[in-house]
């Protein structure tokens, strides 16, 4: 599409002027870092992509000084991760949104992941690892939109990864891919089938994304692929689970009170950091500080459940969805009826992951945003 390419060139985020500017040096070269400090005062980090580094492409073993590419860096989780990672690593962020308050040493590319520009980023930089957080969860978007974003863009990312032999891939999937079902075992292990789309077609792209990452794991043994499947991520993020817990009177399906797991966003960030260590590969479920019935969770978060019979809740949600008053499809009510909890023993033994935030702290962070909003 020539049209979009032209418009891309005029974006403020695209390289202004294409003047050759020094490549960002590694953390091992403190002198160069001092020099670069001045160049960093530009409003947007500029880099030169056309000049290939001598090490790229022909690299035999992973260079420790490579940078970590984070897709979807402008989400709350991406920002948190970038802020943690940039202390030890060079971070390259990719997102369609601008990264306004980013730390100075983070390179941000405001591009669409489906664009050719992505390849330039891979070509021009020594990418040590890719963390894929750029997953579109918005249920309001059309199915095809979500498909092209979550599947086509991810497929392209994987192509570049194999082309430039990036040694590490971390994909943030979720426990939702297992799907809440009445016949679920209380704790799902990593081997459980991904039935998330069985009763809710809207989950198909997320399940497919997980599958794509898994097939990449087998097809490219030289790349250490890690798939993380955390339970409901809550905290100061604005996702469905956190927004639900922020409500004063959240709806609960009458007669159902499933056990729930939540995990703090910072614990997920730490799990990603652990997954970035060399030698770690595989699928890991990530669990929070413990599970409790949904009603207890709501009460502890300061809300009071509103009990609604299942057919009525479904009818009401369908109508609200049609009128665009709710962004919660009625099929997702299954999350409020059946268990979908994960067993994180593998993450504990192999990844060394241990949730650090207590349930009080988790819910305090969820609540904090509610009070800010109100």
């Amino acid at each position: 599409m020539p049209n979009t390419q032209i418009s891309n060139r005029h974006k403020p985020s695209a390289r202004p002027g294409r003047e050759p500017i020094q490549e960002r040096p590694s953390a091992r070269a403190p002198v160069a870092r001092g020099v670069f400090g001045h160049a960093n005062e530009l409003p947007q980090q500029v880099e030169q992509a056309s000049q290939p580094r001598p090490t790229t492409g022909t690299r035999l073993k992973p260079a420790p000084e490579g940078s970590v590419l984070v897709t979807g860096v402008c989400g709350r989780l991406g920002k948190l991760l970038a802020r943690e990672l940039h202390r030890t690593d060079q971070v390259v962020g990719v997102d369609r949104r601008p990264f306004a308050d980013r730390p100075k040493d983070i390179v941000h590319h405001q591009v669409d992941m489906r664009r050719k520009k992505m390849k330039d980023i891979f070509r021009g930089r020594n990418i040590r690892a890719v963390v894929h957080l750029g997953v579109l969860h918005d249920r309001r978007r059309s199915e095809s939109d979500r498909h092209t974003w979550n599947i086509v863009a991810f497929q392209k990312l994987l192509d570049y990864m194999s082309q430039y032999q990036v040694p590490k891939l971390v994909v943030l999937s979720g426990a939702n891919v297992y799907g809440p079902q009445s016949n679920n075992p209380q704790f799902l292990t990593e081997d459980a089938p991904l039935l998330g789309a069985q009763h809710f077609g809207g989950m198909r792209d997320l399940v497919e994304l997980d599958m794509l990452a898994q097939s990449f794991f087998w097809k490219h043994p030289n790349t250490e692929t890690v798939v993380l499947r955390p339970c409901h991520i809550v905290g100061r993020v604005r996702n469905a689970a956190s927004n639900y817990l922020r409500l004063e009177r959240p709806v609960m399906v009458m007669g159902f009170d499933p056990m729930m797991q939540v995990v703090h966003e910072k614990d997920v960030v730490r799990a990603i950091q652990l997954a970035l260590r060399p030698g770690v590969r595989g699928i890991f479920n990530i669990r929070g500080p413990g599970e409790m019935p949904l009603s207890h969770l709501i009460r502890q978060a300061g809300g009071r459940p509103r009990l609604v019979p299942s057919p009525l809740a479904k009818l009401a949600l369908d109508q609200l969805w049609k009128l665009r008053l709710s962004s919660f499809p009625s099929q997702e009510l299954d999350h409020l009826r059946y268990v979908c909890m994960v067993d994180d023993s593998r993450a504990r033994t192999e990844l060394g992951y241990e949730p650090a935030h207590s349930i009080d702290r988790v819910l305090k962070d969820v609540r904090r945003l509610r009070y800010q909003l109100s």
């Binding site: 009445s182 679920n184 075992p185 209380q186 704790f187 292990t189 159902f256 019935p293 019979p309």
Partner: protein
């Protein structure tokens, strides 16, 4: 009303109500507590102490990972104790044979409603020392029923799946298993005390987790709801495993007949072998358990003087 002096009548009441429990919950709690006190008087045992005496495996936030709630369970235990001691006058033999730690309690299944599980459970809670809280595995479709799906986990019932069973045994819990399943519970009266086919899963589970199997014979359950026929078309229509035709219902007797329950706990089996062995090898062990239970049942039937005494 506070010193601020709200002019809205009952404003203070409304505020306290919103902060505290709902009135319905308060009433339920009061009724429940009363039932527990009555049961304690009748049974002559401190039920709360029994509940407090069981070993629990709480997670980091102080909840049982499977949803067991001692608060709800004490009401259920009170009702079960009344049934156990007064209504069914259950006699328990050899409960001290149940070993400590992980154990599979395998019993014959009977009586249209799983009151045999309630009797085994209450025997373990009231007669065993220290009290044990056995879990039982329930059908997966019960998780789709409103209220039931909330109640069962709170009472420690777990949706039947091999993963759940394995996890519970690894945390040294006791598990009640009815290998006959729905075939056993919906037997008609002419097939009473004849064990139907046993599933093989429980022996594989025991081999995998190194769990002793305690055989239990339940006498009395078959006569609580005598069924003369199984109305299969209606069962299919209602998606139930069976639709028993029970004459006592014609006389408006919904409650089970006040039969006398007898529970015989046998010596535990400790099998060793490969859990993934051929069916024929597993079947031998299953047959051993089944024939032991059948002979215990036969002996119990010979010994009893009558159904109600």
């Amino acid at each position: 009303m506070g010193q601020g002096g709200s002019i809205v009548p009952f404003a203070g009441w409304r505020r306290t109500r919103l902060l505290g429990e709902s009135p319905l919950r308060q009433v339920l709690r009061a009724v429940g507590d009363r039932v527990v006190r009555i049961a304690e008087d009748v049974v002559g045992q401190d039920l709360d102490a029994r509940i407090a005496g069981i070993k629990t495996h709480l997670n980091e936030v102080g909840h049982d990972p499977f949803g067991f709630d001692p608060e709800t369970s004490r009401y259920a235990l009170a009702l079960a104790a009344l049934l156990h001691r007064r209504y069914f006058r259950t006699q328990v033999f050899g409960i001290n044979r149940v070993p400590q730690g992980r154990v599979l309690i395998v019993a014959n299944h009977s009586g249209q409603l799983p009151l045999d599980a309630v009797m085994i459970g209450s025997a373990m809670m009231l007669d065993a020392d220290p009290p044990r809280f056995p879990r039982s595995m329930v059908e997966t479709w019960t998780a789709e029923l409103p209220f039931i799906s909330t109640l069962y986990p709170r009472l420690g019932q777990v949706v039947g799946s091999p993963e759940n069973a394995r996890r519970l045994l690894r945390q040294e819990e006791s598990l009640i298993v009815f290998p006959e399943g729905a075939r056993g519970i919906s037997k008609t009266y002419d097939h009473r005390y004849q064990l139907t086919d046993f599933g093989l899963g429980f022996v594989r589970l025991a081999l995998e987790t190194g769990t002793p199997i305690v055989p239990v014979a339940v006498i009395g359950g078959e006569e609580q709801y005598p069924s003369v026929a199984d109305f299969k078309p209606l069962a299919r229509l209602l998606k139930m495993p069976s639709f028993p035709v029970m004459p006592q219902m014609l006389f408006g007797m919904i409650a089970p007949l006040p039969v006398k329950y007898r529970l015989y706990f046998g010596e535990p089996f400790r099998f060793s072998g490969d859990p993934d062995d051929d069916d024929s090898a597993i079947e031998e062990k299953v047959w051993l358990v089944k024939s032991t239970i059948q002979s215990m049942v036969n002996r119990g039937l010979r010994e009893r003087k009558g159904v109600f005494v």
